[in-house]
């Protein structure tokens, strides 16, 4: 019987296997890299109807987070300000700026801040593009975190330095669990929760805090452990903590 397969085919199965393995690894690695929240979400930076500048308002003008996100301490939902909150200042400041067209339209006024009539006078609410979006089966509660010493910066990054807000952290379930397993890495005094430039070491230099043995605490980790114990913080990892 003739030899159907030439000699070079002897290694063919091995080659195919190697190629398939490489392809498989590439698919898995590619998926892990590109299709997870880390790649999908981080860096998302849509343009907004009003190019609101957190850097300007927070860092330069010194507005507190809670001036606009006023219910963050009370509600699960950190609200985006209603148009009339913006209007508190902007009826006086930056009048007629083309950037504020959407705000004026919401308030039902023209460029000279004269009230419009008819449908235009009723105003059209501002449609902010959502940057951070938890899936609908996740019930994240802002008040539960900010009232327990977790700062905005832990999940949202240094928004105070963002001229246009982007998605800074992955917000994947692993991201949440990392902190729920080791909250000491993030805990800080409640007074510093809205201070996004807080550095634990600097704070501890200014404030003398002693641990159980009477030694001065100098690091975030030790400070976090200290607060965790005093505040009775035991974050849950069970499903219903976030999924209901």
């Amino acid at each position: 019987m003739a030899n159907f397969f030439p000699r070079w085919t002897n290694l063919l199965p091995l080659k195919i296997a190697v190629c398939l393995a490489a392809l498989g690894t590439a698919v898995v690695a590619g998926f892990a890299y590109y299709a997870t929240p880390k790649a999908q979400r981080v860096g998302y930076q849509p343009s907004q109807p009003i190019p609101y500048d957190h850097e300007l308002h927070v860092n330069q003008l010194g507005l507190d987070c809670r001036y606009c996100h006023s219910f963050v301490e009370h509600s699960g939902h950190a609200n985006v300000p209603t148009a009339n909150v913006c209007w508190n200042c902007h009826q006086h400041v930056a009048k007629g700026s083309p950037k504020l067209a959407a705000l004026r339209s919401a308030m039902g006024v023209n460029e000279d801040h004269q009230e419009l009539t008819g449908e235009a006078g009723e105003g059209h609410p501002i449609e902010w593009v959502r940057v951070h979006r938890a899936p609908d089966y996740v019930y994240f509660d802002h008040s539960a975190h900010v009232n327990r010493g977790v700062s905005c910066v832990s999940c949202h990054g240094n928004v105070n330095h963002m001229r246009v807000v982007w998605h800074d952290k992955s917000h994947s379930m692993g991201f949440c669990l990392d902190c729920h397993r080791a909250p000491e890495n993030h805990l800080r005094p409640l007074e510093e929760v809205y201070n996004l430039d807080y550095i634990a070491e600097d704070y501890l230099k200014e404030n003398k805090i002693l641990d159980k043995d009477g030694n001065r605490i100098t690091t975030q980790l030790d400070f976090g452990m200290h607060l965790k114990e005093h505040w009775n913080i035991r974050p849950k990892e069970s499903c219903t903590t976030c999924h209901r």
Partner: protein, 1192 residues
């Protein structure tokens, strides 16, 4: 491979002798029932057959291949969809995004308003809870819970109709202006609720329109009672309100006062059932417990609670009332009462008594004696729709028992419902032309539900103009000249009074969704239109708010009333609005002054009439028209939650049926047909093909019978009802409002003028045509005939999710049973059903909790166990009546979909709480101590079979079962993907997104508490034929109004996901998060700021009993306790444990037991045994209190 069947322990010999069953199938032990019992779902339910499948596997793969290829082409352009956050322009006051707001309001009802607190999410009312700060606020029923769905019903009327055609608001205003300026012969028909503002406006309307006439009408109100009470208390609109806290002995003559025929606040009745131990601070005290006697035709929820229950046809009930009245009145030695009896020859009533068996006479004598012995603390209640004669008798009885007065069990009061005529008066006035324009404001549907002898549909045409204000376009809407969409009570300003008369406000939660007009708005605008100048256009129609956003005229009218009742000024108004009621505004008691004002002659006539009634026979049946537990009088026919909630007694969903006792069914020759559920059958005359495999729920059906009342006939399926009176048929009212399948019992649905929506279409059979003014409750001389072997598909849930095991529901008696005193029986509760032989369960989550856990603390620390909260629940079977309020409340809170009749029949209903309902009857005769009697037959000693009257009168025991949150949960160990796991706080949780739908967990659940989403019930409308089976091609219901009702704090589950009770975990988490605010307030107060603050366990612990589950909150009997087991002050702790340790664990309360304790699941939900309080002189006393449920 067959399923491994758990070998339950034997039933202890001492507990044998009671026969227990749920359904006729179980009683007869049909193969179909066995299948239900042994499988999670019956055969075929979990698979799709060829017919159901719209697409073959091959086609599916082809399509999938093509679509994924296409998807590949377009993947490059696939981007994250943009989502928006749209904040308010002007932030409304009070609204915090993400937090609900609560408003006090009330639901106007004919039997008295229900005070409510409404949860609204960003302006959407989503959930109703009872207003517990209200003096009469305590629990709600299923109707109240479901009424929020009515607000969003897709079938709600949206357009003004003129003669069935759409018309504009201007046309309506023009027509009404003409009426207002015309002859003034206007007839107003109101509902039976008492609205003070409306009562005031009736006066104003009477002045403005001198010819105007006012009526009140609801089909189930009961004219006889009104006449009897008005006569006895000499006041128009007199009413008698029961105060159960004052009653030790209660005799109910067909009055379902706990549920469908409420005659006063029911909360105190259930407190009375607990014998003073309603907060579990001490055990039920036998001497403080009330005793309930019930004489009724078909089982009601009140009847299920009875200590002694007697089955009787409606006419027999009248005779029993007379018998008891005679016995009590003779003892009363009151001149007037004696006079009533004077004319009747004592021989006559002795003769009447002779008609009864000895045991019945003993029953009546003992009952009358017990009532008399508790004079001043006893009351007799009669069904609202019984005859005037019976109510006169009952009034004389209550006078004799000294039940009337302040601080007495019954309080005669004068309501605001005065000067209102009946529907008969309206019929006369329409006939004579005294009423030219009829304005129908009643929630009833008179064209459909008025007594058939009035021929209301034809009468309505005699009116020149008729205006119907209604939520639905029902039969009356299409028959009237004008139909105006009504505002729901959650959309309108109004007011009402509770049964006790406390003034309640009704305030809108939302502007009318579909431009509905409220009753008060129409009345006040009618006056405005009358005043409008002829040359000017009449003011435009205002619904909700006027064109400038100003308040509705109804608001102004209500404010006037509040000013009159609570005082002038803004503060009084705000206080009333905040509370939802005005304190101390209850009805005044009618001063009885000179004493009894009984009409002697009429009462004597009633006694005589009662004694000479001919008894019902099999060839001369009685037909009783019952109030329906799902659709009430028919008004809730388009409410999917109520339709799908199984009837509490018959367990029928989506339909009604003729109920007959087993004995009558046998006599009529239909029993065989009923038990044989799956013959080769004809459904609507169509051959049903080959005989289906035994055990398939989808083929459950019932035979038709034809009921003949005079010339009227009704073809209706017949089912067996246990505990029903013999020679009598019960049909509930309200069903059969429109059908497309040609059934005889419902009008053909006109596509252009539909009288019901998708929900109510093809449901049930209409019994109203058989009912006349004279036969409001029952009719005699009824005959039946077969209906040609036709059968009707039914959706019963009684065999679904059937549990088996020992001592599921336990019962004890305050009397000695088998020489065991009440205390001994109490101590034995936890040992029933061989539980004394099972080893103690060891709790993993309660280190020092329910059991004998005695490990050292260091090891305890290793367990995942929260030290702040451990949740637990108890359900008290002593007060649970099985009314479905919890079931519907759970549906509202947890976004549970309805699945439609077909799916229910297959056992796919989604209710997280299942209301089990057991019947239990003694099998063997017992001696005075409760021991089984023996007799010798053929030389062998065998148990003596109990007499028929005992076996025919079973006890009814309801038992709600939801997930019991086992600490050692069998479901968790079998989940391949860890989708169901335990929390540190003892909850057995479901992570829907992990669930892949293997259903192993449900299969492994001994309580059968898990529900599987076989289809995307939330997204696809299950009520359209075959819609669910069309997959993506099916019609969606997303974005329709009912979706506005959804609770935003609970995930809406999709297809292929398992779900079950979560203990309302969203509420628990919310309450816990709220406590975290403590840290902020402490930090603000502390001098050193947050870093110097310590947060303790107590700070973080949810305040005692401040978080309630939806079922617990809704329960009118407060049978459900829920809370933190680590908080020794909580109600649930008191219900489960004594506040003392025994071997290092909390000592358990005697009445508290775990369901299927011997399986070792360590459930967190436990049950409290039922206590019966029988009268030992009663003939059936020796059988009472032994109905412990063992299912095999």
């Amino acid at each position: 491979m067959s399923k491994r069947i758990w070998q339950h322990p034997d039933i202890p010999a001492s507990e044998q002798g009671t026969e227990v069953w749920r359904s006729v199938g179980e009683l007869e032990n049909t193969p179909q029932f066995r299948t239900w019992m042994e499988r999670e779902f019956p055969a075929g339910t979990a698979e799709m057959d060829e017919e159901e499948r719209e697409m073959s596997r091959r086609n599916f793969v082809k399509l999938m291949g093509a679509s994924s290829a296409l998807a590949g082409l377009t993947l490059a352009s696939c981007r994250r969809p943009e989502a928006y956050i749209v904040p308010y322009k002007q932030g409304p006051e009070w609204i915090i995004p993400g937090k609900p707001l609560f408003y006090a309001t009330s639901m106007p009802r004919s039997e008295g308003a229900v005070p409510l607190v409404v949860t609204t999410h960003e302006g959407r009312p989503t959930k109703l809870e009872p207003n517990r700060t209200h003096p009469n606020g305590g629990g709600t029923d299923a109707f109240t819970q479901a009424s929020v769905l009515d607000l969003y019903a897709p079938s709600r009327s949206r357009d003004i109709l003129k003669n069935g055609e759409e018309a504009s608001r201007e046309e309506f205003v023009a027509a009404m202006t003409e009426v207002a300026k015309g002859s003034g012969k206007i007839g107003f028909v109101f509902g039976e609720d008492d609205s003070p503002t409306r009562a005031r406006m009736v006066g104003e309307l009477g002045t403005a329109f001198s010819e105007a006439k006012f009526y009140r009408y609801e089909p189930l109100a009961g004219e006889g009672r009104k006449k009897a009470l008005d006569g006895a208390f000499g006041a128009d609109g007199a009413e008698v309100v029961a105060d159960f806290s004052k009653a030790q002995r209660i005799l109910s003559l067909d009055a379902d006062f706990a549920s469908l025929d409420q005659q006063g606040e029911v909360g105190p009745f259930f407190k009375g059932r607990q014998g003073g131990g309603d907060d579990y601070s001490h055990e039920v005290a036998a001497d403080k417990m009330n005793r309930l006697y019930v004489v009724e035709t078909a089982f009601s929820m009140t009847g299920g609670l009875a200590d002694h229950r007697l089955r009787a046809t409606p006419s027999e009930i009248f005779r029993f009332a007379a018998e008891i009245a005679i016995r009590v009145n003779l003892k009363a030695q009151d001149a007037q009462l004696q006079k009533i009896l004077a004319d009747i020859d004592p021989l006559v009533y002795e003769k009447s008594a002779e008609r009864d068996d000895t045991w019945k006479r003993e029953w009546i004598n003992a009952c009358a004696e017990d009532l008399w012995d508790n004079k001043g603390q006893a009351m007799v209640l009669a069904g609202r729709r019984h005859s005037e004669g019976l109510h006169r008798l009952v009034t004389s009885l209550n006078f004799a028992l000294e039940a009337y007065g302040d601080n007495k069990p019954l309080r005669p009061v004068k309501t605001g419902r005065e000067g209102l005529g009946s529907i008969e008066a309206l019929a006369t006035d329409l006939e004579s032309g005294a009423v030219e324009t009829l304005i129908l404001l009643t929630p009833a549907n008179p064209v459909y539900d008025a007594p058939s002898d009035l021929r209301f549909g034809e009468l309505l045409k005699k009116a020149k103009n008729s205006v119907h204000l209604g939520l639905r376009t029902d039969a009356t809407a299409w028959a009237s000249t004008w139909h105006v969409p009504a505002a729901h009570y959650l959309e309108s300003w109004s007011d009402s009074r509770t049964a006790q008369g406390t003034y309640c406000l009704v305030q809108p939660m939302i502007l009318p969704l579909f431009g509905g007009l409220s009753e008060l708005e129409l009345l006040s605008q009618l006056l405005a239109w009358k005043e409008a100048k002829a040359e000017e256009a009449a003011p435009a129609l205002i619904t909700g708010e006027d064109a400038e956003g100003g308040p509705s005229p109804a608001y102004l009218e209500v404010r006037k009333t509040v000013a009159a009742i609570a005082g002038e000024g803004e503060d009084a108004w705000k206080e009333a609005l905040k509370n939802g009621f005005v304190a101390d505004s209850a009805y005044k008691t009618i001063d009885l002054g000179a004493g009894i004002r009984l009409d002697e002659e009429k009462t004597a006539a009633a006694v005589a009439a009662a004694l000479f009634l001919t008894p019902a026979l099999i060839e001369n049946l009685e037909l009783s028209f019952a109030t329906d537990g799902s659709v009430y009088d028919g008004r809730y026919i388009d409410n999917g939650w109520l339709q799908e909630a199984p009837d509490p007694i018959s367990k029928i969903c989506w339909d009604n049926a003729a109920l007959v006792s087993p004995r009558t069914a046998k006599a009529l020759g239909v029993y065989e047909q009923i038990t044989q559920l799956q013959p080769e059958s004809k459904i609507f005359g169509v051959e049903n093909g080959p005989k289906p495999e035994i055990g398939e729920g989808r083929d459950a059906n019932a035979p038709f019978i034809t009921i003949k009342v005079g010339a009227q006939t009704l073809e209706i399926p017949v089912v067996v009802a246990f505990g029903h009176a013999d020679n009598c048929i019960t049909v509930s009212l309200g069903y059969g409002q429109g059908a497309t399948d040609g059934r005889q019992g419902a009008p053909k649905l006109d596509k252009d003028k539909p009288t019901v929506g998708l929900v109510g279409r093809n449901t049930g059979f209409n019994a109203y045509p058989l009912r006349t003014s004279a036969t409001s409750l029952f009719v005699t001389g009824v005959t039946t005939a077969g209906a040609g072997g036709k059968r009707y598909p039914m959706a019963f849930t009684q065999e679904h999710h059937a549990m088996y095991g020992r001592a599921l529901a336990r019962e004890i008696s305050t009397n000695d049973v088998k020489h065991k005193s009440f205390e001994e029986q109490l101590a034995n509760v936890r040992k029933q059903g061989m539980d004394s032989h099972a080893p103690d369960n060891i709790s993993l989550y309660l280190p020092k909790g329910s059991s004998n856990f005695q490990k050292d603390e260091a090891k305890v620390e290793n367990l995942i166990s929260d030290k702040i909260h451990q949740w637990g629940m108890t359900i008290d079977l002593n007060t649970c009546m099985g009314c479905n309020a919890c079931l519907v409340a759970c549906q509202a809170e947890n976004n549970i979909p309805i699945v439609g009749k077909e799916q229910v029949a297959m056992g796919r209903e989604m209710h997280w709480i299942r209301m089990d309902r057991y019947f239990a009857a003694p099998k063997f005769e017992r001696d005075g101590h409760g021991h089984v009697k023996k007799e010798k037959i053929d030389g062998k000693e065998v148990e003596k079979v109990a007499p028929e009257w005992v076996r025919d009168n079973p006890e009814l025991i309801p038992q709600p079962v939801a997930c019991v949150q086992c600490e050692a949960a069998p479901c968790e160990t079998v989940c391949p993907v860890n989708a169901t796991v335990h929390t540190e706080e003892g909850l057995n949780t479901m992570a829907y997104n992990r669930c892949i739908g293997t259903r192993y967990c449900a299969n492994n659940c001994p309580y059968k508490a898990r529900r599987f989403n076989f289809f995307d019930y939330n997204k696809r409308n299950p009520l359209i034929d075959h819609n669910l089976y069309k997959g993506p091609a099916g019609k969606k219901q997303v974005g329709e109004a009912p979706h506005l009702q959804r609770n935003p704090n609970v995930s809406v589950r999709m297809r292929g996901v398992m779900e079950k009770c979560t203990y309302c975990v969203q509420r628990l988490e919310g309450a816990k998060i709220k406590r975290k605010q403590v840290q902020r307030s402490k930090s603000l107060a502390a001098a050193g700021g947050s870093k110097s603050v310590d947060v303790s366990v107590e700070d973080l612990r949810v305040k005692t009993d401040s978080v309630k589950t939806a079922c617990q909150d809704a329960c009118p009997a407060e049978a459900i306790s829920f809370g933190n087991l680590l908080d020794t002050n909580s109600r649930v702790f008191r219900a489960k444990y004594f506040n003392e340790k025994e071997n290092g664990s909390w000592k358990p309360k005697p009445r508290n037991y775990d369901l299927l304790n011997y399986v070792g699941t360590i459930p967190r939900t436990s049950y409290l045994a039922r206590v019966k309080n029988p009268n030992e002189k009663m003939p059936d006393a020796k059988y009472a209190g032994q109905a412990t449920i063992h299912m095999t």
